[in-house]
Point group: C2
Amino acid sequence: MPTIKEVAKMAEVSSATVSRFLNNSGYVGEEARKRILKVIEETGYVPSENAKSLRTKQTKVIGVILPKISTETSSRLVRGLDEVLAKEGYQILLANSGLSAEKEIEHLRLLKSRDVDGIILSATTNGAGLKAEIQRLDIPVVVVGQEVDDTPNVIFDEYQAAKDMVKHLIDHGHERIGFIGVSEEDPAVGVLRKKGYLQAMQERNLPIEESWIEKGIFDVESGAVAMERMMGAAIPPTAVFAVTDRLAIGAMNYVKSIGLRIPEDIAFAGIGASELSRYITPSLTTMDYQNKESGRVAAGLILEAIKSGGNSPEKRLINVRLLQGDSV
Amino acid sequence: MPTIKEVAKMAEVSSATVSRFLNNSGYVGEEARKRILKVIEETGYVPSENAKSLRTKQTKVIGVILPKISTETSSRLVRGLDEVLAKEGYQILLANSGLSAEKEIEHLRLLKSRDVDGIILSATTNGAGLKAEIQRLDIPVVVVGQEVDDTPNVIFDEYQAAKDMVKHLIDHGHERIGFIGVSEEDPAVGVLRKKGYLQAMQERNLPIEESWIEKGIFDVESGAVAMERMMGAAIPPTAVFAVTDRLAIGAMNYVKSIGLRIPEDIAFAGIGASELSRYITPSLTTMDYQNKESGRVAAGLILEAIKSGGNSPEKRLINVRLLQGDSV
DNA sequence: CTGAAAGCGCTTACAG
DNA sequence: CTGAAAGCGCTTACAG
């Protein structure tokens, strides 16, 4: 493939003129226009965005850092992002942090070195290191999923969502409610959702047993393991709130395997509105976080930040919706 | 953030020396080394990959074109790709074709204009236009999922997989077997899997009723609709093979809703090894296409092509595995 | 061991 | 309406 210079020579014009033609900037004579077009068609010339970026100082690419590249949550988020970004001519450069805080920072730098116009970070923590790095980077960054001060932010009311879900359980007559959480290194999922659970119980003057509180990692299997432990309690709970659908589903699988009926013997609720929650039997009561919508909003925020040239530390709260299944 | 020139000035060396330091190419004196390091640390300087690419003619990014950004298949593929690509210092530039053949070609060009080192295309068709465009592009491209001549290719034996699955059904005593397919514009899923079904039936001398052959799109809902139509047949089938898990699951949902038991009254099989297939009740018998592995293989192929500088038209067949569920 | 200079493929004032 | 020239931030022979 030729360069702009070669195209210019073949069309017997200067490369400046070809550039004008390409970008529709400035006048290009009818004759010149025709010759250029012809050469481009014949050669299949495509301008190098890379070289262009070097001059124009914008690459039209947005870096996206995901905690895990292949979760439902991530793919929905990316879909939302792509939906609005593609329309504006932006492409997505993907990076996988693998749930590691150091990798998040490493990728922030890597993306910066690629001269991306902005970065969307789906974060798993919100440590001081992260915040410092974002400041230092000096390009638009929007953080999704964790609250980070002084940074454009797309967040969910994790605390309220968890509290609402537990109250939903209580409203269905449950008093002994178990909890399956995750590591408290994750402020949003680990800390806030647990706090919501505790608060709901307390507000309704319900007892909390240590043995009803379990922890898993982000998969089905660990939900089952946690549930098995919980069923060893002196008085097992009649309902369980798990902080993710997968955890809830693992827990359900375990109680099914020991012959209990859901929801008659024990009820379950999760968070995430996973496709699984919908098609499992019984379907799982869960919270829809509208990840795709959060992607759209994040894309809007980054576009705004790029245009205005500054990180207005705007926080956008995504609405969550309770989806009633047959598990309660 | 400074440029290399500014770093050079601050460290009282030339930019050539800074470059040597950065890339570990050529000698850099101990003193100079120290001063440069200091400046870099103080300023947080990160070299521009973009400018670098312009000189070195490689960007270390691989374009990935996906039919749909948020399907399980796509995310597994990307995970496999990222696993090996990241290790080699490559990043992934994502593009979403939205199942449209024109968009596939458009993105091929778009990625080329970004000077990507190679492109992985998860294709939905294999038309002549696509092939021509790939030739024309003149950069390494590997196509996943559809067979395209003269191009590195990662494919599955769709025909055999479908045939094996239908035979599995037959081996379980079924003779009246229905089929839910997709549009035959998709050579792999639409044509080959159907052919496998027809061939299996024929080889075992089993009758095929027109009314047992239905078509859906790639979602659960259309599987249910197709199944409803199929149950209108004079003699309904005792087993159904659907070309995707989602189609199969939709179909299962429909027969459950009219009170039939699975697999006693009617059996089901799908393809895809989706997470859903595993956790649905009853679990679905399906084919594991090992998408993540196919991603790894595709990444290997593109790396090879980049190194060798040519598209050796190598075809790699990914093994598929039958996963027995309780739906048969 | 190090620097000056050219060049990668573009765009953009400036001049005509 | 169009071209010559400078410059974006790097790397890389070449010379010393």
